[in-house]
Amino acid sequence: MDFISIAISKGRIGKEASTVFKKIGLGDSIDINSRKLIFKDEKNKINYIYVKPLDVVTYVQNGVADLGVVGKDIILEKDSDVYEIYDLGFGRCKFAVAGKKNKPTHSKDKLLKVATSYPNITKKYFDKKQQKIKIIKLNGSIELAPLVGLSDVIVDLVETGNTLKANGLYIIEEMFDISARLICNRISYRFKYDRIFNLVEKLKELKC
């Protein structure tokens, strides 16, 4: 039997994924605290690969991994050609536009400046609303941008809203909900259909 490779997002989603795989009796070889990047499960013939979220999609699309566990935010941000076969249910949060409290977001005659680490999602969203914007791409601590005057608003993932609150920001508009997804390479889906199907069935049982 061939190995199945699963690329998993490092970080919070990766942790939860390891718990879920352990619950269905598969993830025993994963040791989150180790510095190893590949965990081999010889018994079940599964390789788990821990990589950065954006790279999960790249790994799966190029067939280096058959399956991937990654947040919907990444799937939306990165235009990709993969199947999204299951909603894992964890890693729930939402995309939102946030800004400073009690302050007009921007004056009417100016372009709305939006700071985000998700430029594609942001562009699509405001295009739909027919709002002209200027995107300022940041790689973290997005909440800082409106405070220091770098942008009028931000577009970011909100889980509890605590970071926003602590920085005096509030949600102006909720965009959409996201959660962790199981993605699948299109060709692996064909060649390893039964095994992938069985895995999804096990995950479904767990949820019920």
Binding site: Q61, N62, G63, D79, V82, Y83, E84, I85, Y86, D87, C184, N185, R186, I187, Y189, R190, F191, Y193
Partner: protein, 318 residues
């Protein structure tokens, strides 16, 4: 690190040339004649067929008359456009081409995709379906005997959409979700569309309509069908029988939820894959109504072969 030497590069080119010749020989043996598509494509009115690949991915240039034209984004359109207006009833044409198509990929790089392919025009529907699919199977079998061909009939989903009364944007969205086999989001999305429960049930189970032909028919029959969808299934059953006779059954996977990149197919559609490659090796289908767009409805079916991808898998195999 050792970099590519001239010798290696020439070796690679020649290997590619050899494979190209091999495939061309098969085409010629089967009675296909060579045709050369033109490099430019006038886009007027053709945008709707490139919906899925998106306007951004067309490589556009401005010619001397300030018209915007595209470097050919696919070969079939180009060939059909030139031939159909001169079509005479009763003609039968078997054509093959060997030419690149061009697409914009991420970060504004232009990708040149080398394709070989055939178009069978004016054939008898079933006979040409089978002939073309068997030819595709033979080519797949030539380079690796572990392959899978996915087959469906685009009339199935088309028929289902017909009875939904949704607008073009919703249709595109729904097709996108089906393409990504995203059952979860689909269930969510169709709730909003106010569809009859019979159609919802059918959509909710559409990803299970795959396997061998009898499995697929058995599963799909339990759910909503209309005349168009029934016809689609009937055609697939006949096709399944013929494939069985050719001894290729074990390589085939029927999948009614199949969606194609180009939107002009209206009949059998198919894609061929190899296990060690991550792109379609062969893709094609029937597109009679596309010819109608250029003046006359002609029986038409064809496929293209990704040459570079075949060379790659042969190289990785060593």
């Amino acid at each position: 690190m050792e970099y590519l030497k001239i010798k290696d590069e020439i070796k690679y080119h020649n290997q590619k040339y050899k494979i190209k010749r091999e495939i061309e020989d098969v085409f010629i043996e089967e009675g296909y004649f060579y045709i050369e598509p033109s490099l430019y494509e006038n886009l007027d009115g053709l945008e709707s067929f490139y919906k899925k690949i998106g306007k951004d991915s067309l490589v556009k240039i401005i010619n001397g008359n300030s018209d915007v034209v595209a470097l050919r984004p696919d070969n079939t359109t180009n060939i059909i456009k030139n031939i159909i207006p001169k079509w005479k009833q009763g003609m039968q044409l078997k054509l093959f081409y060997n030419s690149s198509i061009f697409r914009n990929v991420n970060n504004s790089n232009i990708e040149e995709i080398k394709q070989l392919g055939i178009e069978y025009l004016g054939g008898f529907d079933f006979k040409s379906d089978i002939e073309v699919i068997v030819l595709a199977l033979n080519i797949l079998n030539k380079f690796n005997d572990k392959f899978i061909m996915e087959i469906s009939n685009s009339k199935y989903i088309y028929g289902l959409l017909e009875d939904m009364n949704i607008d073009k944007i919703q249709e595109k969205q729904l097709k996108n979700i089906i393409y990504r086999k995203n059952k979860f989001e689909m269930l969510d999305y169709i709730k909003k569309l106010n569809l009859p429960s019979k159609i919802i049930d059918c959509l909710a189970n559409i990803f299970e309509f795959q396997g061998n032909i009898s499995q697929v028919v058995k599963r799909a029959e339990k759910f909503y069908t209309n005349k168009i969808m029934e016809k689609a299934l009937e055609e697939l059953i006949i096709l399944g029988d013929f494939i069985k006779k050719e001894g290729y059954s074990k390589y085939i996977c029927f999948d009614l939820s199949m969606i194609t990149e180009l939107d002009y197919y209206d009949g059998v559609i198919f894609k061929g894959y190899y296990p060690n490659s991550f792109k379609e090796i062969i893709k094609g289908g029937r597109y009679d109504s596309f010819t109608e767009y250029f003046g006359e409805k002609v029986s038409a079916i064809g496929f293209s072969v990704e040459l570079d991808e075949i060379v790659n898998i042969i190289n990785t195999r060593g």
